[in-house]
């Protein structure tokens, strides 16, 4: 029975050989020999069991020994890092900022493009690019083969909410969705309490019902356990709460959160948006639609099938107007199951730009870390040589150095997560530039955190490995003889290190330019310089429609309110407006089509993409904007009924005048908008209108009449109040409103300055984020360059010593050191410049919005020349400090060291 014994011995030897190098150095031979003695003895005494126990012992101790060494490495690494706090601080801080930024960028993407919370299988949800009419929706819905389920709804529908008791109680304003009964079943949400809607329970003419969000239930209803079944007043009408939505579900597009879900069957008394027989008119294309595609149905197939349905429906009811004005009747489906409603193009832009930014920051970070570690490795070559000569294995030393870099990167990663939380928290509490409350939940989620930690770990391993390998490839004898200054093997001008520096400068410049483009571009295109005095100008909103006012009462209110408020002490002027001035969020809202007759016959100038604003009498006088020609609206223009045969007046801005009438005088000319004809009575200066519009947009101001307000079911009317300096006009106005119109809710009360600040704050914040990124790039580049130059000075100590001994002046030595740094900076700058422009070009091709930002900034000399100059100056300064140290080298001492 010699066989098991031999096998056991051979296994034993293998396992014993796998023990850590240092353990084997001391106990290896003894362990082997003891094994040789113990194997036959164990066999003799205990048989198989003995051999197994012997093997188990040597196998179990193996990881224990390794773990012991790793623990030693960690303790040693912590001690080493504590001994050089500067290096540790720079490393951890730069990693923290970089990783924090990266995870915020990723969270930003997630916040917009993440799956819809609370929905079942959100990937199967699609939405058409345009709105549809309700009758068309019903036909689409009935195509079970194409759409497994479908719903139509209106978003951001305002509701004046009051408790059920008092009919004239003060209302509060909430936003909701007006939904078809299939809404919740299509999205795939189950109620937290009560029931949701269905086509069986929701029929036209039935008592109004409402489903409330969890948030609404907690705040407005004080978490009332009996809430289901309770009545609530919505726009003065009673509606019964039938269900509560699950926590976190704020409607199809939580970017525009909904607290109330009201079925479209409730009728226009609850939701004025449904007036004009909106559910039966094929021409009112105002509903958003979401379809749930059945399993196996692709988007193109669904599109083709829906187009066939659309064509069939169009044929049933031909409408020449519709066909003329809409070039495409295709629905064009896009994925809808994300938090923010994004087109594939926008999604591509957001993900690619964020990814680019992320990759740049990360590469910069890695280059910097590699540089720091390389330079540090070179400083520690003597220590490494001593340890090698004392018998430490190279693998062990590599592991030791790796442990240090991993510890560093993990510490940076953890600090980065803390920073990310902080930035995200600060960003999510930002005031947003919109009337509809936008909420951003930017907190990093678990996946982002895991990814960040993985990246920091990988950074530590990858960028700790190269310097560690380079450090242990040391010629021990030379290092011990010459000290730390001995040139490492492979030191040459075009080394890996220099490559890192060049790429670091390039990445820094790229980031600096890209962020510079963004910051100055944002500032340039969005700075809200209204062109009028914002001091003592206040505004608030009212909504007589949803506060239960009839058309006649609204008419009376609109005609007398400016007078009533003008009489309040401290008030100089009052005007009404449809919306808040300068609140148009995006250029996409400039979608009004205006036509101007250019003479006799059919010839007319058609201009698309015009902003349309509704304003009352005295609007420009209240704002303090002068007219270029003509006059603005007066009280008579605010009347809904005009004498027959007269056209309503309109005021246009200069851009609109140029677009529609070229050089001709527009005063007295006719324009058509949505079938109505207006006479131009005044022309204003180009006041910036719109938030993201880089250039003034053609704007047509039409009179705000109560008739229009009721007919269009506008979500609000805004009252502008210009007070005298020093008077608390707004408080007095609110008191007057409360006493004269107690049943009218006043909301969105703010000063014009607050309003502008709120809009600007978002811009300033995003600019600040980009500016911090840019500064971070600058700082990292300087740290990296300084480190590498300092390292080069140490390397060339002997050479510098000899040069100085031979009579070289300090200026010559400085130049010598700076020359190399300058060459690296120049090479990096060129590369960075080329990449930055390539990126700007690439990003511009993705979205028109970015193109306009880059377009206006790419020729900005301050940026194009300033950024590289700033980087080069700071980088040269970073090189200068070690260069100056080089001139202080004592030639005698430097030579004696040899």
């Amino acid at each position: 029975m010699k066989r098991p014994w031999n096998v056991c011995l051979s296994l034993y030897r293998r396992l014993a050989n796998a023990y850590p190098h240092e353990f084997r150095m001391v106990y290896g031979e003894d362990l082997d020999r003891l094994g040789e003695d113990a194997v036959p003895e164990a066999w003799r005494r205990y048989g198989f069991v003995g051999l197994l126990r012997l093997l188990a012992d040597v196998a179990v101790r193996l990881p224990v020994e390794y773990f012991g060494e790793i623990r030693q490495d960690v303790v040693y690494a912590l001690r080493v890092l504590a001994r050089s706090p500067g290096f540790a601080a720079v490393g951890v801080l730069s990693l923290a900022i970089g990783i924090g930024m990266c995870s915020v960028v990723l969270c930003g993407s997630n916040a917009m493009l993440g799956p819809l919370p609370g929905a079942h299988d959100p990937a199967a949800l699609v939405t058409p690019r345009r709105h549809v009419s309700y009758p068309y929706f019903e036909h689409y819905r009935d195509q079970q083969r194409i759409a497994g389920a479908a719903t139509a709804f209106l978003v951001s529908v305002p509701f004046a909410v009051a408790p059920s008791g008092d009919r004239n109680a003060r209302t509060e304003r909430f936003y909701g969705h007006l939904v078809s009964p299939e809404y919740f079943s299509t999205v795939g949400v189950t109620p937290a309490a009560g029931r949701f809607f269905s086509s069986e329970t929701e029929k036209p003419g039935m008592a109004p019902v409402v489903v409330v969000s969890d948030r609404f239930w907690r705040t407005y209803l004080n978490s009332d356990p009996e809430a289901v079944g309770r009545p609530l007043r919505l726009n003065r009408q009673l509606a019964t709460i039938v269900g509560i939505a699950p926590q976190g579900f704020l409607g199809m597009w939580p970017w525009n959160p909904a607290d109330l879900f009201v079925p479209v069957t409730c009728g226009s008394s609850v939701a004025p948006e449904l007036g004009d027989d909106a559910l039966h008119r094929r021409d009112l294309e105002m509903f958003s639609m979401v379809l749930r595609l059945p399993h196996g149905m692709t988007i193109p197939a669904a599109e083709a099938a829906l187009d066939a349905v659309t064509r069939a429906l169009d044929r049933q009811l031909p409408d020449p107007d519709r066909d003329r004005d809409r070039p495409s009747r295709q629905l064009g489906l896009i994925p809808a199951g994300t938090i923010m409603f994004v087109t594939p193009e926008a999604r591509a832009f957001v993900t690619s730009f964020n990814f680019m930014l992320w990759a740049m920051v990360l590469s910069l970070l890695c280059a910097n870390l590699a540089n720091l570690l390389l330079a540090r490795g070179s400083h520690r070559r003597r220590e490494i040589a001593v340890r090698l000569s004392l018998g430490a294995s190279r693998a062990r030393l590599v592991r030791q150095l790796l442990t240090e870099s991993i510890l560093l990167s993990l510490a940076g990663g953890l600090a980065g997560i803390v920073l990310a939380y902080w930035i995200a928290h600060a960003m999510s509490s930002l005031p947003m530039p919109s009337q509809t409350p936008l909420r951003m939940d930017l907190r990093p989620d678990f996946r982002v955190l895991a990814f960040t930690l993985a990246v920091s770990f990988a950074t530590g391993v990858v960028f700790g490995l190269a310097p560690a390998l380079s450090a242990v490839r040391t010629n021990i004898g030379a290092v011990l003889k010459e000290g730390a200054q001995a040139a490492p093997r492979g030191y040459r001008r075009f080394s890996l290190r220099n490559l890192f520096v060049v790429s670091q400068v390039a990445a820094s410049l790229m980031l600096l330019l890209a962020t510079g483009f963004m910051v100055t571009g944002y500032q340039h295109t969005t700075r809200l310089d209204p062109g009028f005095d914002t001091a003592n100008l206040s505004l608030f909103s009212i909504d007589p429609l949803r506060d239960g006012y009839s058309a006649e009462r609204s008419e009376a209110l609109f005609s007398k309110l400016p007078d009533e408020l003008s009489r309040v002490s401290g008030v100089r002027a009052v005007a009404l407006a449809g919306g808040v001035p300068f609140s148009n969020l995006a250029a996409s809202q400039a979608n009004t089509v205006v036509a101007a007759s250019t003479g006799e016959g059919d010839s007319r100038q058609v201009w698309r993409g015009v902003f349309r604003e509704r304003i009352g009498a005295n609007y420009f006088a209240t704002l303090g904007v002068r007219l270029v020609g003509g006059h603005e609206f007066d009280r008579r223009d605010q009347q809904s009924e005009l004498p027959p045969g007269t056209a309503a007046p309109a005021v246009i801005n200069q851009t609109a005048a140029r677009a529609l009438f070229r050089a001709e005088n527009p005063i007295g000319r006719r324009i058509q908008e949505e079938g109505a004809t207006y006479t131009v009575v005044g022309v204003t200066h180009d006041v910036r209108s719109g938030f993201f519009a880089p250039r003034p947009v053609a704007t047509v101001f039409l009179p705000l009449t109560a008739g229009w307000f009721v007919r269009s079911r506008a979500p609000r009317a805004t009252v502008l109040v210009r007070g005298t300096a020093g008077a608390a006009a707004l408080t007095a106005v609110r008191d007057t409103m409360a006493s004269l119109h107690p049943d009218l809710t006043v909301f969105n009360v703010q000063t014009m300055r607050e309003n502008l600040d709120r809009m600007n704050s978002f811009i300033q914040w995003s600019s600040a984020v980009y500016a911090v990124l840019g500064l971070f790039a600058l700082l990292l580049a300087c740290v990296g360059l300084g480190g590498v130059t300092a390292y080069a000075v140490v390397q060339r100590r002997k050479e510098i010593g000899i040069r100085m001994a031979l009579g070289a002046g300090s200026g010559q030595v400085r130049r010598l050191v700076l020359r190399e740094g300058a060459a690296l900076i120049a090479a990096g700058s060129l590369l960075g410049f080329a990449c930055a422009f390539a990126i700007a070009r690439g990003a511009s091709s993705l979205t028109a919005q970015l193109a306009s930002v880059f377009e206006t900034r790419a020729g900005d000399p301050l940026l194009v020349i300033g950024a590289p100059m700033l980087l080069a100056t700071l980088a040269l300064l970073a090189c200068y400090l070690p260069a100056r140290r080089a001139t202080r080298i004592d030639p005698v001492a430097a030579l004696r060291e040899q």
Binding site: A16, F23, V26, Y27, E29, D30, L31, R33, L34, G35, D37, A38, R45, R53, L54, D57, V58, V60, R61, L62, V64, E65
Partner: protein
Amino acid sequence: MIVSIDPRSFLPLHTNWFHILLSLVGSEQHGYGIMQEVLERTGGTVRLWPATLYGSLKRLIGGGLIEESEERPAPELDDARRRYYKLTRLGRRVLDLECERLEEMVRLAHKKRKQEAFG
């Protein structure tokens, strides 16, 4: 700098460590010798397998309880390839304290038993 280590910080002593220290009382031993002595002394109930033995020796040296011996036995008995270990003063003190501790434990157990017998 000499750092005085409190011998009590090692108590209670790990069984393997106790047996190794006990084997080194009065004589220096190599690994195999320690293994054999422990086996014989305990009548085969405690066996220090090789990896456990050398892992413990490493930690005992690290703790300053034993050290490698410079002295070698008589040439006819010496195996030049083997390392010999001996107790340090600290190791001796730790062993004494452990013995006292064990004695105290045994004394307490006896006392309890007597109380049970009479009570």
